[in-house]
Symmetry: D3
Subunit: 308 residues, 6 copies
Amino acid sequence: MAEPQPFMGLVTFGRRPHTRDVTGADVAVVGVPFDGGTSHRSGTRFGPRKIREMSLLLWGYNNPLGVAPFDALNVIDYGDVESVPVNIERTYANVEREVSAILDAGVTVLALGGDHSITLPLLRAHARRFGALAIVHFDSHPDTWDSEYSGQPYSHGTPFRRAIEEGLVDTGAYVQVGIRGPTSGLDDLEEARHLGARVITIDEAMAGGLPAVLQEIHARAAGKKVYVSLDIDAVDPAFAPGTGTPEVGGFTSYDMLQLVRGLRGLDLVGFDIVEVSPPYDHGDITAILASNLAFEFLSLRALKKGER
Amino acid sequence: MAEPQPFMGLVTFGRRPHTRDVTGADVAVVGVPFDGGTSHRSGTRFGPRKIREMSLLLWGYNNPLGVAPFDALNVIDYGDVESVPVNIERTYANVEREVSAILDAGVTVLALGGDHSITLPLLRAHARRFGALAIVHFDSHPDTWDSEYSGQPYSHGTPFRRAIEEGLVDTGAYVQVGIRGPTSGLDDLEEARHLGARVITIDEAMAGGLPAVLQEIHARAAGKKVYVSLDIDAVDPAFAPGTGTPEVGGFTSYDMLQLVRGLRGLDLVGFDIVEVSPPYDHGDITAILASNLAFEFLSLRALKKGER
Amino acid sequence: MAEPQPFMGLVTFGRRPHTRDVTGADVAVVGVPFDGGTSHRSGTRFGPRKIREMSLLLWGYNNPLGVAPFDALNVIDYGDVESVPVNIERTYANVEREVSAILDAGVTVLALGGDHSITLPLLRAHARRFGALAIVHFDSHPDTWDSEYSGQPYSHGTPFRRAIEEGLVDTGAYVQVGIRGPTSGLDDLEEARHLGARVITIDEAMAGGLPAVLQEIHARAAGKKVYVSLDIDAVDPAFAPGTGTPEVGGFTSYDMLQLVRGLRGLDLVGFDIVEVSPPYDHGDITAILASNLAFEFLSLRALKKGER
Amino acid sequence: MAEPQPFMGLVTFGRRPHTRDVTGADVAVVGVPFDGGTSHRSGTRFGPRKIREMSLLLWGYNNPLGVAPFDALNVIDYGDVESVPVNIERTYANVEREVSAILDAGVTVLALGGDHSITLPLLRAHARRFGALAIVHFDSHPDTWDSEYSGQPYSHGTPFRRAIEEGLVDTGAYVQVGIRGPTSGLDDLEEARHLGARVITIDEAMAGGLPAVLQEIHARAAGKKVYVSLDIDAVDPAFAPGTGTPEVGGFTSYDMLQLVRGLRGLDLVGFDIVEVSPPYDHGDITAILASNLAFEFLSLRALKKGER
Amino acid sequence: MAEPQPFMGLVTFGRRPHTRDVTGADVAVVGVPFDGGTSHRSGTRFGPRKIREMSLLLWGYNNPLGVAPFDALNVIDYGDVESVPVNIERTYANVEREVSAILDAGVTVLALGGDHSITLPLLRAHARRFGALAIVHFDSHPDTWDSEYSGQPYSHGTPFRRAIEEGLVDTGAYVQVGIRGPTSGLDDLEEARHLGARVITIDEAMAGGLPAVLQEIHARAAGKKVYVSLDIDAVDPAFAPGTGTPEVGGFTSYDMLQLVRGLRGLDLVGFDIVEVSPPYDHGDITAILASNLAFEFLSLRALKKGER
Amino acid sequence: MAEPQPFMGLVTFGRRPHTRDVTGADVAVVGVPFDGGTSHRSGTRFGPRKIREMSLLLWGYNNPLGVAPFDALNVIDYGDVESVPVNIERTYANVEREVSAILDAGVTVLALGGDHSITLPLLRAHARRFGALAIVHFDSHPDTWDSEYSGQPYSHGTPFRRAIEEGLVDTGAYVQVGIRGPTSGLDDLEEARHLGARVITIDEAMAGGLPAVLQEIHARAAGKKVYVSLDIDAVDPAFAPGTGTPEVGGFTSYDMLQLVRGLRGLDLVGFDIVEVSPPYDHGDITAILASNLAFEFLSLRALKKGER
């Protein structure tokens, strides 16, 4: 039987084997179906499942990067970490524990959210193994807010604030890209900068061009252990409507692909793609974009393996 | 200016005044936009807002019951109780505190969910004022599960179990209506019965007819303080697709209206309508049904006022 | 080439020829794409087009009635009468003028709305030819309101009031079927009755059964010239979500088909199906129902022809 | 870890193991994602995948039948048979070959379509093992047409005609239930009857009641090897909008569940559920219904096993 | 209690107070839910309500402009002007009367449509107070047609033609931006130019760049009283699908934000945003864009206040 | 009566006459509603019908090209070629036969798909009349695969491979524009090049700019008979979500319009627009784009006629 067409067969990421035994794997695709941390539209709990389904459309060879990541790497689909919608701390513990175990086996994690709150336990696990991390953070929102909403320190607006407070971030090498839209106050972006973030707003990116953005990222992150966190709302809602807190005036899908591919050469140790909310998507275009961005991450990881 | 048409104007429930000052009110419509407790599809956080919007289609006079509840009663729209998606305990505390205050002012509460987990703090507040409650519980699921999912005692599957454990329920007068679908195990319905519930399955209701169901309810609840909790998934998903855990083979909308109207004569002290999830609705038909059921509750409340 | 499958080919009602030359026709299908008269959701302007498209699924032979209307009758698709959204009077004039001309040619009109306001000029044209009409009016709303909304005498809530005032209706033979839902006030149904309507509410229909409803209709309309006006919201929104002012608790599609077929034997001179609003439909189920109801009307017309 | 909630984890039918090794299994769930044979709306190629996803909502214990089929039976998810959209003969060959092999291993097949054309190779495989089959066929269309559309003998309108011609059917024990809607001509139902089918139209079922329908089925099929083919369009489009050729005026979901449960006691040897088309569904209610009907089939199979 | 999250609470624009008492206000947000004037898809009657709902996502501080408009200005939500779908003249009279009264109180109006026909009475009211207006008109269509459609002088295709005829426009300072798509004839754009409009087609804007467009606008409008009318279909349907007559090949959302922000420094006296049609939107992205554009207008107004 | 508004009247392409008599026509619009050849989402069988419906929004005059194609040309709507979903060879035969007959009458064909497999018989018919063709092929996929999927030589991934093998293509003048996304292997693009295609990837187009792309096209195709095949998935799914195998990172609608207009001056002898799948569209934006691109083709054809 030839390679099955995308509409056929059971679903795992890229038709990779589903197993919790990570031995010998290069990359484990890990879902975190948690949508409790969002401030507006829920639904990202269905993100991992839908991104997996759309990954069946990834035919395998990355032409711009010249690599076939599913051939070059041993990729497995680990399945989902158990998430507890009403208990973010417990969810965090589950993520940190399971991802740490995967990383300890020498396996790279590609995490699929879920809302952006899940990046905090991912950073905890990665920092535990790699030390304070350089971070490339694509987003429309800074997510470095301090709002203890109703006494809750954790939400999808605070992961990077908490991560910095916990010492997980190499703040000289933390770059936010695509920031835009109204913020709560005058100080939001200023605070992000005080915390050490290099905030590249959408206006700066549009005016200076993407190559300048990439140059800035490389200048700060080169030679460091780099974690990439990609909030799909960095992309304009025309290209990514299926998300919880859309911000207009963002990147195109082509821009986003260029930005991810442009990370080539960095020492990438971890990735996440978050905030894909299938109930608000149409024609699955957001999930298709997310699956392609995951494919680019895998391709970068494959190139890195090849370079060794 | 004549009465505005439904597509015009700002939205409150039935165009009633929005105020947190409940003095002199007969009924306060209270939203609880919490969707953290659901086991499958989220989105009920948008339930109160959408039910309010659809309530603008309620032209005012209830012909079968012969009453104009917005004329007969002083109804206010209290707005929403603050919900904290990731912290069900805090949400519970908010609901219990605010609803208790409204009840203490002698005002009846009509609560709009949100998922079914919110019924527990509503029952706490009502039992504090009225003592252990007779309960008429329309649902496809018993919601008397004991599953401490991931160590969480509270979810949309457990409110009545917890309420019984807390002594909030007059278990001789607790009737579940519409139960159906697969359950976790052999014992689920048996356990509900052991806890004191009279479980009227959909099969019993269909075979015996709705008048028999109503007779059974009246036989148990007459003369007692009755709280009505209506999970919209008691209705078949053809009539109420906008919900989180649909169960096929349920009541029609006409059935549901008959069942609610048939509560006439009981001493109704509290109401909730839960599990309306607008992202999964179409043509707003679920929210329209919910707003009509809320209207029936108000009508019953108006009749009770008239009888005094 | 065999009969084309429904997904192929250009669209006319039932693949009948499109022509404005009505000579020799038995029935002209006439669209009236007007949605200005609605009090809530617009969109019925797309009703005629979508009903036509769904009519391609009508395979031709009516088994319960034992007739193949497209064989028995010369049916043409007349196309649409020009409607002017902001000018209901001008639209009315267009409908009355064009429909009168068709009727004068001895051709029966099957009109597809559009909102219910269009029934008034249809009744004017029919009464001009046939005299005051017996009317079978399926609806959830009485549409005999007197509300001069903002000084506008015409809307989708007033056509039958105006028709009675204009003497177009044989009020002893005017039957409303399916009425339900909140009305503006205590007097709405009472007024309808004072105007001469026999108001069969949904509760009466459900309690007495459909045969009793049909008996009542025949008792009043037998031997008279009968016009049938079918507002799709007579059907429950589960079966007909694509409409502007849905009322829950209505007929099933099976009920509706039985009610229409049960008109067999009456001297039917005109038909309309109104209030199908495709933007609010899903899976086109409302338009499919409407096209089937149109098919039943044609079947009744074919039987009548056969009887002569 | 407790049983995962439905929104989590990878998808197989009922979370059963995915394997092509059928040894020791009682039932194999087999997808046939073929939508080439439909005369109107395509999309059933996504039926098996979506029914599997919705099967995660099946909590396990069937209360009306008193059985937990996933405990009582060794159920596996076989995955999909390769379908070739443009080549129905090749698809037929694949289905017949693979299903025959499963049956030869003594394993019962529960097939998920796909459009109704796939029932022909399923019947071929079953008849090869069990001989000419008694058939219970739920549908709105007779599917015994002879139309060689464009010279094509196979389509979703012809499987039972072909099966009878091929001698696969015990025509004295072939019952069609739910037939309705316009047919191509006067003779369609008559021909079905001449071919040996007992055609129970929706009108007969509604007038006589479901117990009479079931009695008729048992009278004909008792003691024989029975294959059940369930076209989801037997159900009204209000309950099952996600299908290719909806016919209004059908069964409710409650009716359909009763009809399937009522097959208890027959010697059921094969099942299929076909014509679920997710692109036209909303809120997944059609797929949820289909997954519940599959669960009923499994429950019947479990009871049969228990009886031995 | 902290600032409520967007999914909670009753809806007014930006959570500003709803009042018809404009005393002391800087800006009144005024809805005009009229969709009678459209030539294709209706539904803009729900525009004001949905834009208000999406405005809850506006967190308050405008980073590119450095202003917090809800702090700097006293903004109120006036609610909706009564619209009469079938009577555009009466609707016009209502708009003109109510908006004039607001303007006379020294309050700026930010109007939310509704279709583009509503701009004519808005211009009448503004010209009455400010004299002939400079106009910045973002749109894909010139809306300076003369078509008296069915004898109707008013529609969403004619407001600027009528405004010029009525002397409301300073035609030397009337700029149309974004014009594209097929027009009725050779003369459409030529006529617009003869009427005094500077027509900047999308091709000119794309070729010359947005700064050149803004330069042109400032050159013509500087020092004059400027009214800004923004038809959301100036933006490409990828970014704004929820509109009545989409034209492909338009601005991105980023472009549109830049164009509005670039109006800084002009003496802006009035604004409208029109043609948002929620029934055709998805994921609310069009309404989110419109609410952000409204926010930019408010920010410009706040800067102007600060400059005084 | 004035020109009817787009929501009114029966549908043909651009309201041109529907006839199979092509005598005297300049262009015949021909639908090919075939979706059997797709590897993922079906639904393009509804493409021709929906594109026709959206063509009613084309007001007639092409401003950038300065031509009114419906005035300059005698355009007819030929209707659809019969397609047989399960038999691609028979469909091919129908297309080739009917299109050849139209071409033989000296009429240009504008074909509306359907999936991309239909281009092969279109090329056969055109090559039969015009000889080996220069081809401008807009697409995200090369469609020059050799995959005999399940032994099927024909699918929507192979038409250009087969056409080259059959000698229908002037391979020195075959340009692919917009290619991107993962391919099956390292060799896919290389093979396309070996077959003679000039593969302009999206990266080359974005880096070099559209004028360079057009220059390249003209350099190769000038003076030759040129066939244009436009797969709507050349455009980014933000602008064209309604398609079967979306590839992110594509052209904007503005880009696509420029690319088509830029073909001016070539000797264009045939056109197709394929892969529009309405079930996956929203707000009809994909079909609107396709109808505009068809309009541009007609405009180019009109200019060519004028030049003679």
